[in-house]
């Protein structure tokens, strides 16, 4: 089992985590769309800390023998998932920026031609 002092630390950490997310959301520094994965990760972490038996059972099912290792592996899995989604967001934005730059170039040419015609 997880020692109770560690459990208290972890509960506080999860609370901090939620406060930071809510703070960002309140200040509109995060789009809700991109926050779902973070919130999901927080809820799972919270559940696992509050109900450590659940954690132990999941860890056994996964074939991990040490509880602490299990906790780390679950955390790392979430971090990887979030990173992957970030990369996909960046890639998509990259495509959008490319289209915008091309569009600006085409509009600039059109404006130039219209102004030349006017003179």
């Amino acid at each position: 089992m997880i020692p109770s002092t560690l459990r208290i630390t972890l509960i506080l950490a999860v609370l901090c985590y939620f406060i930071i997310i809510l703070y960002f959301l309140k200040n509109k520094a995060l789009n809700l769309k991109y926050t779902f994965l973070w919130l999901l990760a927080g809820i799972v972490m919270g559940l696992l800390v509050i109900f450590p038996k659940l954690l132990v059972r999941i860890i056994r099912i996964l074939g991990i023998t040490s509880n602490m290792n299990g906790l780390f592996i679950i955390c790392i899995a979430f971090v990887l998932m979030i990173l992957m989604s970030l990369t996909s967001i960046v890639s998509r934005q990259n495509g959008k920026i490319r289209s915008l730059i091309q569009e600006i170039g085409i509009l600039e040419k059109r404006i130039r031609e219209l102004e030349e015609k006017k003179d």
Binding site: I101, I106, E108, K109
Partner: protein
């Protein structure tokens, strides 16, 4: 019978080509006046833009550097918006000779091909590139043959002509970093008829290739992956002839 006038746009991507761009365009306009051309200044840091302005060339000015793929695509987007029938892309460094333009347009006009690639290896004339580079091109050519079943010799040639249908496809979907080989796969996956036409190329007038020796290993790995992913992303759709 009066022939319907076809609109052809020659796209010339230019990134820091201040030394050669004027010569290329002057040569082009002296040879053919019936076709439009469009320089795409890809956020150059030298005087490319000033030269285009002062000479009164037709140009697009991209505010930020996009790389060759994005610049060429800007030309295709422009061609699509202005309802061109054929778009031709050629490099701004003087490698490609406009004298072959008619040879490249012919298969498209007679509807034998959707995409025509100017190939320096079909007749093995003119500048043939270095030995190591030819090996690299051979490997990529083999890879494209393996994944699509289509044999293309000069897969990195940036001298191409495409018809209206592929102007639209490329305006929407054109690869980025080192786009030439990947664009061939994209074309074949859209059941495009790709044809090679022999051309002579010159050694570049100025500037360096976008592919230096140091980058060439990265280039090979990247393009190999890109071809495989491009092939996969179109699923099991069968390649056209």
């Amino acid at each position: 019978m009066e022939e319907k006038k076809i609109k052809v746009l020659i796209i010339i991507p230019a990134y820091n080509e201040s030394e050669s761009i004027e010569g290329v365009v002057r040569h082009l306009t002296s040879r053919t006046s019936k076709y439009d051309y469009l320089i795409v200044n890809d956020g150059s840091t030298d005087h490319t833009l000033r030269i285009c302005k002062e000479a009164g060339f037709s140009y697009l000015d991209l505010p930020i550097n996009l790389g060759i793929g994005g610049a060429v695509q800007a030309g295709y987007v422009y061609a699509h918006k202005n309802a061109y029938d054929i778009a031709v892309q050629m490099d701004g460094d003087g490698q490609h000779d406009i004298a072959y333009l008619e040879d490249m347009l012919r298969p498209i006009l007679s509807d034998e091909a959707d995409i025509v690639i100017g190939s320096r290896f079909l007749k093995k004339e003119g500048f043939q590139s270095s030995h190591t580079r030819r090996i690299g091109i051979g490997i990529l050519s083999f890879l494209i043959r393996l994944t699509t079943g289509k044999r293309i010799m000069d897969v990195t040639s940036g001298f191409r002509a495409v018809n209206r249908r592929f102007i639209e496809i490329y305006a929407k979907d054109y690869p980025t970093d080192y786009p030439e080989p990947e664009a061939i796969v994209t074309a074949i996956m859209h059941r495009g008829r790709v044809m090679e036409v022999p051309v002579r190329m010159r050694a570049r007038e100025s500037g360096t290739s976008s592919i230096t020796m140091r980058k060439s290993v990265y280039y090979m790995i990247k393009v190999t992956l890109a071809i495989l992913i491009c092939r996969l992303s179109y699923g099991f759709r069968r390649a056209g002839r």
